[in-house]
Symmetry: C2
Subunit: 360 residues, 2 copies
């Protein structure tokens, strides 16, 4: 572990995410389960079925299935839609999780090709869908677009794009890992957003802060098929209850806090926006997430942030990653920690960061 | 849940397995972790790496990787060996887990064909290997052969078969889901058995009684590749610590109890062996597992067993499954429960079972 990450783990105040999680924190969450109840067994049992039903209702979908990971859930969704159309080609954004974070599982395990829509530095649009040259079985939408700092299309554009797909007999899948986070921006319920899509995946360990776990939702026949694929992938685990209890607890704890987190993101983004050599992406956050781009290399940013931690016991960001040798970036998402830090301390921290970044 | 299964869950005395597990039992196991420690994150961190190292040492292998399931671990092992040989064909027993319990994941996700060695009702032999007509990249051995009541080849036969593979440039993989259970029969250490195989998988939720989890072990290069495939399968979970803590705790708790469990299986098998219409497979258990075949349909066996539970509060078996309309079977594995039941009560239960089975 680097010196920066070690200091991060110990900082008293932090602006990103929730309070630091230890193994004990997760086990505490699990105590909220019905301890006398029987475990789920290979995807069956009240503890898993009840939670699946709860989420189905929330998303307005017929059925849902709990998965150990979104990687597994989404590959499977795209496989089912590809088989339905006898066409192993799907379209998504160039920085889609399946394209850049899954070691090409979709291509290698499922032989599904991808069409990249639009450009890496912007959202894809209706125009991009219209310009697609090859037929696809499914378009994957990601709300918010994580690699673009949680960017979102306007509601009308989103409706136009999903309508276009329906009219052209293309299935729509929603990567809604952070779906609940965008509801305040759209002013819609989860069901209203999900109505636009044939299938939806949500995650329980992003803003919800659960240990691990995901849900895939859609029509009954789709979910029945997804259970077969879950077995094939090796995801039909003996017991999933540690993840289910933690997911459900954190879901209920935080699902109504997204507007508050978004306010935090806007306030923090504004405070950071005037720093020289620092750019907020997007300029005004549309959910509880944004990215910070630095015109400085990782080492310089980390050194400056370590000074802030030393003086104020305050972690302004999380991990800093390189864009190239001279530039770097960081991802902010607002959770429970932000509101625990006094604004004066944040401003002091940002001032010191500005000074420290100037040093060669 | 059937009336039989409901009674099973409540019986005070039971001969199969450990004490009934509730969600609370699992969470109790987890408290044995270092609660102040940081979680593992996507397969890294001390909590996962330490356990992997411990098992590598125990099995005498260079490296290990913790998997959420054996289904995932074994498909991946066979994929790696198939790619190594540029040959997507492997051989295993007709009742191999991959052939009958995984919805053809190996074939559908990995396009690997299977050659079935020997016959469903016996172990495969050196002779069967010699008679193989098609080349294969890998032979999967299962010790003990679960679907045959935990049957084992003699040590000399096992050595001859794995030597044959090595001489013919065929990789060997061990499905050792219940590997520790067979060490007393062979009088060998785990490392002495594993030395015969290029890769090994063991499970932590069979006799060990952990919540969920598996380990895949082999040479460094093999394990490095398996981590890439784990990501592709969607098995590189955010946190695995609930499973890791439980697996490690149960592994240490029970790994030296296998000889005792085996003694229990032999004693119980002998008591059951003289029941009319009942056959023990194998005749004398070679590990803590055996199967019981009934010349009666499921309904009759369940009805008889419910009478025993009613009178003696004793569950003689677990689930009863149909062989065909007139015959059925049950799988026994001996764990912690067996030694808590007085022999007199067992004999009374078996006597009553005999009487009840006779009733039309």
């Amino acid at each position: 572990m680097t010196a920066y990450k070690e200091m991060l783990a110990k900082a008293k105040y932090r602006l990103r995410g929730h309070l630091p999680e230890t193994i004990g924190t997760g086990i505490e969450q699990m105590k909220n389960g019905d301890l006398g109840a029987l475990p789920d067994i290979y995807g069956t049992g009240a503890i898993i079925e009840d939670f699946q039903e709860l989420i189905s209702k929330e998303l307005g979908k017929e059925q849902s299935v709990f998965f150990p990971s979104g990687t597994m859930a989404q590959q499977i969704a795209l496989r089912i839609w590809s088989e339905e159309k006898c066409l192993k080609r799907v379209a998504y954004h160039p920085l889609c999780h399946l394209e850049i974070h899954e070691k090409d599982g979709l291509k290698v395990l499922h032989q599904i090709k991808s069409v990249l829509l639009g450009e890496p530095d912007r959202l894809f649009t209706l125009e991009d869908l219209r310009k697609m040259k090859e037929p696809v079985s499914c378009v994957l939408f990601e709300l918010p677009q994580r690699e673009l700092g949680g960017l979102l299309p306007e509601w009308e554009e989103l409706v136009a794009m999903t309508s276009y797909c329906r009219e052209h007999d293309i299935f729509t899948h929603l990567d809604g890992a952070r779906l609940m986070e965008v509801l305040p921006f759209y002013g819609k319920t989860a069901a209203e957003v999900c109505r636009l899509f044939d299938s939806v995946y949500i995650s329980f360990y992003k803003t919800f802060g659960g240990i691990t776990g995901a849900m895939l939702s859609g029509k009954k026949d789709f979910i029945d098929q997804s259970k077969v694929w879950k077995r094939r992938h090796g995801g039909d685990l003996h017991h999933l209850y540690p993840y289910i209890i933690s997911s459900r607890y954190c879901y209920e704890l935080r699902k109504d806090k997204m507007a508050e987190y978004w306010e935090g993101a806007k306030a923090y983004g504004e405070m950071l926006g005037s720093l020289p050599g620092v750019r907020i992406v997007p300029k005004v956050p549309v959910c509880n997430m944004f990215h910070v781009h630095f015109e400085y290399p990782v080492s310089r940013v980390e050194r400056a942030l370590m000074q802030v931690m030393k003086k104020n016991d305050l972690a302004l960001f999380g991990a800093i990653t390189a864009i190239d040798l001279s530039r770097s970036k960081s991802e902010i998402w607002i959770g429970d920690s932000f509101s625990l830090v006094d604004e004066t301390l944040v401003r002091q921290g940002i001032e010191l960061l500005e000074e420290e970044l100037k040093r060669e």
